[in-house]
Symmetry: C2
Subunit: 335 residues, 2 copies
């Protein structure tokens, strides 16, 4: 910058102002300076700038990896969310820092902020860390979490309407004549708890109560889901449908069912969750609950920016939509 100042015959202050589009610089000096900067292939030293300004347009996106459940950054849904966030942040002129963090040690997420690397944190994957997240928020970490709204929540969350999603999926299966619907998911997780509540609600609306034996409590993982189905089958429990809490698990379930000569949709109706791209290409195409990923990305960053500005932001629940394809069909013969 000093070079430019010298070559342009002005002071560094002028150059700084010109480069930042200050209004009180004459058009001609500005043009001269811009021209010079371009020809010297100069770009402003962002680190010096950040340092000086104590402000930086970057947001950390954190995907905690859960050692226990093994669902980590490779889950297509999470990855799609990363894509969506990248878009939303780019639109707002923010850089996106992607960090993997051990879920047992979310404090390192806080350090991203306190050290000035990022102005705030978007965390994808609430898991069972509600309390830890509350602790972070109470320490004034600007954070927004993809997940479900919970009681006594100090942090802002953005999530799909999980109760409604669970209800929609289950109601669809019930309407098609299914009566014994297996539920695949880990009910310890807040989002799954809500989906399960929707599942129970839908039954209630039909004057039914789900059989607890049909609850396959497994973490978000294809292999776990596959094993879960085999276990359920071996247990001798009768079931005519499956509601899986992610498309990945639905996919694994369909595969397991295929092996057991219980193909979807003929023998067993299957509904998934998320509507990742794969769902429409699967065979049979998967009926599933769509999470509004694009909208989620936008809302997550909007909320975070407001949190950073010190506003108190209410959790947001996004509407969710049943996408009917063909992995569940009308049941003709009773079980």
């Amino acid at each position: 910058m000093a070079d430019i100042a010298r070559l342009a015959g002005v002071s560094v202050a002028t150059v700084s102002r010109a480069l930042n589009g200050s209004t009180l610089i004459s058009k001609e000096t500005r043009e001269r300076i811009d021209e010079l900067a371009r020809s010297l292939n100069y770009s402003i030293d962002v680190n010096a700038q950040k340092f000086r300004l104590k402000q930086n347009r970057t947001v950390a996106v954190v995907i905690p990896y859960d050692r226990e459940s093994r669902q980590h950054i490779s889950d297509p849904f999470f990855l799609a969310m990363v894509g969506s966030l990248a878009d939303a942040l780019t639109d707002r002129g923010f850089d996106m820092l992607l960090s993997r963090v051990d879920a047992e040690n979310l404090d390192s997420a806080a350090r991203l902020h306190s050290s000035g690397v990022a102005s705030g944190v978007i965390l994808i994957g609430q898991w069972r860390h509600h309390d830890q997240l509350n602790a972070l928020a109470s320490r004034k970490l600007p954070i927004v979490v993809w997940g479900t709204e919970m009681q006594q929540q100090l942090y802002c969350s953005v999530g799909g309407d999980n109760i409604e999603g669970g209800r929609l999926a289950t109601q669809h299966l019930l309407e098609l004549g299914h009566r014994r619907i297996a539920f695949i998911g880990d009910p310890q997780l807040p989002e799954v708890t809500h989906r399960h509540r929707g599942y129970v609600d839908a039954h209630a609306a039909f004057g039914l109560q789900p059989d607890p034996k049909l609850l396959v409590a497994v973490p978000f993982d294809a292999d776990e889901a596959r094993n879960g189905i085999h276990r359920l089958h071996r247990s001798g429990a009768q079931f005519d449908a499956v509601f899986a809490c992610s498309d990945v698990m639905a996919s694994a379930a369909m595969q397991a069912l295929h092996q057991l000569h219980l193909p979807a949709p003929e023998a067993i109706g299957v509904v998934g969750y998320d509507d990742i791209e794969w769902a429409s290409h699967s065979n049979p195409p998967l009926t599933t609950v769509r999470q509004p990923i694009r909208e989620a990305g936008i809302q997550l960053v909007e909320s975070l920016l407001r949190v950073i500005d010190g506003e108190s932001v209410r959790p947001i629940t996004l509407p969710v939509q049943l996408i009917v394809r063909s992995s569940a069909q009308r049941r003709t013969a009773p079980a």
Copy 2:
């Protein structure tokens, strides 16, 4: 830091040294300082540090979006690569900045470096930008590209062995008795060019020459692939197998074939490329060429770090592997 110095009764220099683990600090002062820092919830101002050190442990990962082909950040393969890079960079103690960049304007990738935001750039998606990439490299931008090694290449690339991949896939189909193998992909792209070369080579090894009518030249996109199959079918060209240059396209192709009552593998053998997670869950499970994503991530960052250190690094071609599942089967009746 000044606060800590005062409270500890030492100079800021001592605090700086202690916090950075310098060896010439007595154990007890170090502990006192660490303790103080912790209790004050202090973390070093990374921006000041970066500014001072002119060095920053962050790497920009750039995914150009190609307006024309519409393959962008949502492609599962790219997203998986992002995940792999996040892992590899985390292991090396680097932050990862994820940027979307218009492919027509890769210069903005250069700015990430010249402005000091990132020490180097990893670009996923070579597309047809060989010349632009060469230009960037000649301007001393530390960059490594996921893609194919090409003639007169000034930048370092890391990629799968595309010729071998194309050969493996095609040979497999030929061995199963297929003789009229459609090729789906955009031969303008370097990687596809190589895969096509492998396709031709495999034919040659059988004393055959592929029919140019069976080349379905479409960009990396599910819809394009689907339409391509329909077009091919309408054209009346006979084909008994399909080699698609990505699993996403293979998936779309299988779906189109299904609609045409030409299901895989019974009527038409299908082989994909990439081996994204979905491939093993599809129905039928997809036979495909596995790209070594985990290894790719590691090599990409190792290479970049060496480029940053000023070494001249040779392009790397990673081995590729045929994963036989069941979307292609032995052909019993001749066409």
